[in-house]
């Protein structure tokens, strides 16, 4: 274990000096290592992007990246996609949509399959972001498909959260159900080149206005045509982190670490088998798990 950590530290040192090969290997190590590595960067800047499938998140991120690079930033993007529950494999194609993703040295894109890490990928994403920040990446974007609570949650751990919806989808209601709408700092309605987008934006605004003190912006954009991108960037850059956000983030970190502890518990399969043949009750199972959580993980 000590050996593993020192390997990660060594990669970090090389990556900090600008070696892109080491940076890439570092990200893999963070995903694959048995322990969740701890990194901390004071100057970290992260944006979570989530929304329903097909709402144009990747295309929009490509636009944002280009704009940022033009203003001197360097952009690292972690694009999460689900693994197939049947084969365990994945088809990761977010980067196709990111026109900016092949712009050169100022953009780093890593596609991540959500299913390959013991205990789930979510506790690993934040060490990755901190490592990227330590290596000098000034804009770090985490993209997740907002199809389930856990995916929403990953994005919600960022300092600021952008929610993307399309015209006439109404899918943002799902975000409301998942408790994510209140976490979003900026909401973009994409595909303003299509009919229905303005109406969609209006209905979200109406829904936000139900609470008096809600000043969050709903911005119409077209990632395809590059319309509204500057306005969106300035909203993202200037958004004020909501009060209580830190507690919310820490709560999510704790829950995801706890989940990961549970899923990677050495006796979990045995306990599930016992539950199936009714030889123990659920309360007994929880007791067993609680008393035997491995020390020091």
């Amino acid at each position: 274990m000590a050996l593993e950590l020192s390997k990660i530290d060594k990669l970090l040192e090389l990556a900090k000096s600008g070696d892109r090969r080491s940076l890439s290997r570092l990200i893999t190590e963070i995903a694959d290592s048995e322990k969740t590595p701890k990194f901390h960067s004071d100057s970290i800047w992260t944006l979570g992007v989530t929304g329903p499938p097909g709402s144009g998140k990747s295309t929009l991120i490509g636009r944002l990246a280009k704009q940022w690079v033009d203003t001197g930033e360097s952009v690292a993007i972690l694009a999460l996609d689900p693994s197939s529950p049947i084969s365990g494999g994945s088809f990761l194609a977010d980067r196709i949509r990111m026109e900016g993703s092949d712009m050169g040295d100022k953009v780093f894109v890593r596609s991540i399959a959500s299913g390959n890490t013991p205990g789930g990928i979510s506790p690993r994403i934040w060490p990755m972001c901190h490592a990227l920040s330590l290596c000098g990446w000034s804009r770090i974007v985490v993209e997740t498909v907002g199809t389930g609570q856990s995916e929403f949650r990953i994005a919600a751990l960022a300092d600021r959260l952008l929610l993307v919806d399309g015209p006439d989808r109404g899918d943002i209601i799902q975000a409301e159900k998942a408790g994510i709408l209140e976490l979003a700092d900026v909401i973009a309605v994409n595909k303003s080149d299509l009919p229905g987008a303005a109406l969609s934006a209006q209905s979200i605004r109406t829904s936000l206005n139900l609470s008096d003190d809600d000043s969050r912006e709903v911005i119409l954009v077209s990632a395809l045509e590059g319309v509204g991108i500057e306005k969106l960037i300035s909203a993202i850059e200037s958004c004020e982190t909501q009060s209580g956000r830190n507690e919310m983030i820490m709560r999510e970190v704790l829950i995801s670490e706890w989940d990961s502890l549970l899923v990677s518990h050495p006796e979990i399969d045995e306990i599930i088998t016992k539950l199936c043949d009714s030889s123990i009750t659920i309360d007994e199972a929880i007791k067993l798990l609680r008393t035997s959580i491995p020390n020091g993980r």
């Binding site: 494999g89 994945s90 990761l92 194609a93 196709i96 092949d102 596609s111």
Partner: protein, 145 residues
């Protein structure tokens, strides 16, 4: 394994690349597809950033003999010599030797059953596990077919 499937050069047809990508996913691999019309240096950077173990290059344009060796050279130059490279598409028999010489470990033509590509990856994985050379940077005469 983490596999990048790439379309180098001016070639707008990716049905084959997508069939392979899907088959590899169903075989349990993580597949990253680059999309169309990537330059050799784009592809080398994508392989690096994605930390891929395998690169599959699909070409139908006839430019394989100049693009693929260029990509293999780029991988070696960027310290990516452990990446395993295979190719697919319309590649005449007379060009195979040159591709193998540049470090390509398998070439799959039209009509190849997807199970064969999966078989190649199993072999590749086995070799890697046993530290038997197979990467694009390894100097060896071995190739799958």
């Amino acid at each position: 394994m983490r596999v990048v499937i790439a379309k180098p050069g001016l070639d707008g047809h990716d049905r084959g690349a997508k069939v392979i990508a899907r088959a590899l996913r169903d075989g349990g691999h993580d597949v990253i597809y680059t999309g169309l019309r990537k330059t050799p240096s784009d592809i080398v950077r994508i392989v690096n950033d994605e930390d891929a173990e395998v690169l599959g290059l699909s070409t139908l344009s006839g430019a394989h003999d100049s693009l693929i060796p260029k990509i293999c050279d780029g991988l070696r130059e960027e310290d990516l010599g452990d990446v395993i490279v295979f190719a697919g598409g319309i590649i005449p028999d007379r060009d195979l030797e040159q591709l193998y010489n540049s470090g390509v470990r398998a070439v799959f033509g039209p009509g190849t059953p997807t199970s064969e590509v999966l078989g190649f990856l199993d072999e590749a994985r086995q070799r890697k596990k046993e530290n038997v050379p197979i990467g694009v940077g390894d100097d060896l005469g071995w190739h799958w077919n």
